[in-house]
Amino acid sequence: MAEVTGRQARPPGLADLRQTPEPLLSELSVADRPGLDLPRPDVPAAPLPPAALLRDSLPLPRLSEPEVVRHFTRLSQRNYAIDTVFYPLGSCTMKYNPKLNDELARLPGFAGLHPYQPEETVQGALALLAALEAALAELTGYGAVSLQPAAGAHGELTGLLIIRAHHRARGEAHRRRVLVPDSAHGTNPASAAMVGYETVTLRSDERGNVDLRALEAALGPDVAGLMITAPSTLGLFDEHMLAITEAVHAAGGLVYGDGANMNALLGVAKPAQLGIDVLHMNLHKTFSTPHGGGGPGAGALAVTAALEPYLPVPVVRRAGDRYALDYQRPQSIGPVRAFGGHFGVLVRAYAYIRRLGADGLRAVSEAAVLNANYLRVLLQEWYDVAYERPCMHEVVLSGRRQKARGVRTLDIAKRLIDYGFHPPTIYFPLVVDEALMIEPTETETKATLDAFVAAMAAIAREASDQPELLRAAPHATPVRRLDEATAARQPVLRWATPGRGHGETGA
């Protein structure tokens, strides 16, 4: 790696882009610019609908194909991505996305299928879904899996709807509260609220576990269940996991598992055996499907056999060597998405599982946990580690030491960009002051980890000796620090359209 010195830092590839801002499509548009042509249909022309049903104008930008290709290629060059840099976002599992998987998802035999085609024409697709469900069930210990949810939070919503259905079926609709640890991802309480639950926040203890006394005090006949992340967002496996799930069950509740951190547990532990009744997994995290800049993901949901009747419709059924979609599910919570799940994502996850196999998946978790602990012991010379315990697949640091020098975690993160790394997750989980959550994953080399540590050490020294370098970082990106406060006060959320103004939305 090139030597990085002060303001001269040049992260690979991005420096020159500061001189060449990329205009918006609307700014590149020119009247009469020819776009794509389509053949005209060779049929007698029927009269169009009445004018009252038609639009007057269509103010879309006009660009030629070469301009479009150049525009989006140049935009892509302004991104950091797993394919270009180390990207240790905690709890996001930014592992390598195998290219075979993309190629397979694009096969016409998969990509060209309409979801409503007759079942006899999609037996290969249904077989893939059934095989993926079975593999995920085996990895996690559950009786049944739904591949319908579109993302982790969508899986949470689905799982909580199932828990609600379970209690209602037992005449216990009065269970209106869900317990959520204070370290939980924001989607957990948000999902609970969408399902109509009141959330009760449980504090964590000084070792990062759910505080058992707080749990006992909160449990009661009005509690539907507990949402727990295993390992937690602190990167720690709860030392009282079995006691926690037993306590919830004893009080008549169910346990929901947020499986975003499954990259630590493949072949290491089965969440079903830990007492978790419902678990979502993020296929775009643990199972290598690409993150896409914010999706598409997939939030596979696994449930115990007792909860299987509540799964969303349709369900994949096998009768001999024939597969079918079963819509006759009287206890189902209903569909959570039209047209089934994110099949294009599911193909990739299935290919990944086949590629790794049982031994390979366990090796994934072992290497992920090894890499994170390696970072933990090296970084603790320079940064406070939030908890005095071995971590699992991610480690949480606190920028406390640096804060005393007037430098915040935000500044450390921005300075890492100058060193050519994507920053870790910052300011989450909320229970750690100036949090920095680092998840290397198993697909990184030791050399990359060592380079990251060297950069973090250099930044720690700069925090003492030249804090202004951090506060002004990043220095050489296409844009530098952006004024997000003003952006929120005076939001401009779309471009200026001829005849419609700029769309300033004011308050």
Partner: protein, 447 residues
Amino acid sequence: MPFIPLTPAERQQMLERIGVTSTDALFEVIPAGLRYPPLDLPAGESELETGRALRGLAARNRPATELACFLGGGVYHHFIPAAVGALASRGEFLTAYTPYQPEVSQGTLQAVFEFQSLVCDLFAMDVANASMYDGATALAEAVLMAQRITRRSRVVLSGGVHPDYRAVTATYLDEAERAEFVVGAVEVRDGALREADVAALVDERAACVVVQQPSFFGTLADWTALRAACDRTGALLVMVVNPLTLGLLKPPGAWGADIAVGEGQPLGVPMSFGGPYVGLMATRQQYVRQLPGRIAGIAHDVEGRRGFVLTLRPREQDIRREKATSNICTNEALVALQVTIYLSLMGPDGLRQAAESCYQLAHYAAAQIAALPGYTVLTPEPFFHEFVVRGPRPPEEINARLLEAGILGGLPLRRLVPALADCALYCCTEMNTRAEIDALVARLRAL
């Protein structure tokens, strides 16, 4: 092991540095009896073997794209220009994640801003979000939004709303317990499908009224009177649209929609057996703080340069947790990018041409089928590119015969609309040729 670069020597160095003799020591926190459970899964494969296995599964399917496809119902076989896939599969777009650090995510963020802008232009509305999962969940969240804004719970839906969209909305809204659904009737009268006028069903108890244009059955309606009913009662007007048809049709903003949603799949997204797709969602300026999902906005950096950031964040789950407008986090950014690229390539003329082709081919097909003895087209004018057909035999039987000739017939309505179990929904797009339609009609005639 694939994709795990650590060498045995490196592993050893790292273990020594950590101060343990093996990785087992790092998993001691897992209860002993539950640690390292046996996995009844096959051993891993080489890339060659995995590729062979999955190609074998793909070969067991007959994709609609390789048949004469007359299947629609919310997902459509449309033309996808080659540049869409080429650009969207670039690793810098594909393998990036949520743009938490805008300085190194301007590619993603500018593309999101452009997507939002295009949705606003297409819909003629003030503000759009960065995407929802799909059209159905976008509708569900639009109805939740209307309930929040009006503080009412009743939901009025036209009978022309896609039945699966209504079902997803019912799941989200807890129709069983917490929200009252009033659904407009659909019946066959005088040889045509009649969708009841929902304006009559809207009163001061309604949070919103939901209509779909074109309807699930393909029809088009004038919503002027409905907008007036909403003005009178304070109910919000929620429209579900097919964005490709907006190349020709009056957009929801021009109808006075308060919230508009749609499925973006027709705009450059492969059908892919159900997903991933992308939910489009737009609303009036005054409701922007109730909009779920991510939103990108313009910001300026310390040197005055224009850039893009995620904004209005206090609506979102990571900031407001249980008080957020939605739990949505990961959405459909890459699919939204495909839509953005598609619309850039097509431009207004291309989109209009695509919409017109769908219209003309469907009208030709409907006229030919209506002229066949034993067949009735139940969808009345005006309709767009889908129409309901009742034939002399059950649609499943008709489709089996059509499939022998490489034709994918219309969607049998048994599951979605039991009262029309003897009917199928036919669709034509710019991908159908006159020859394909003539062959379909010839086959139908011969049955």
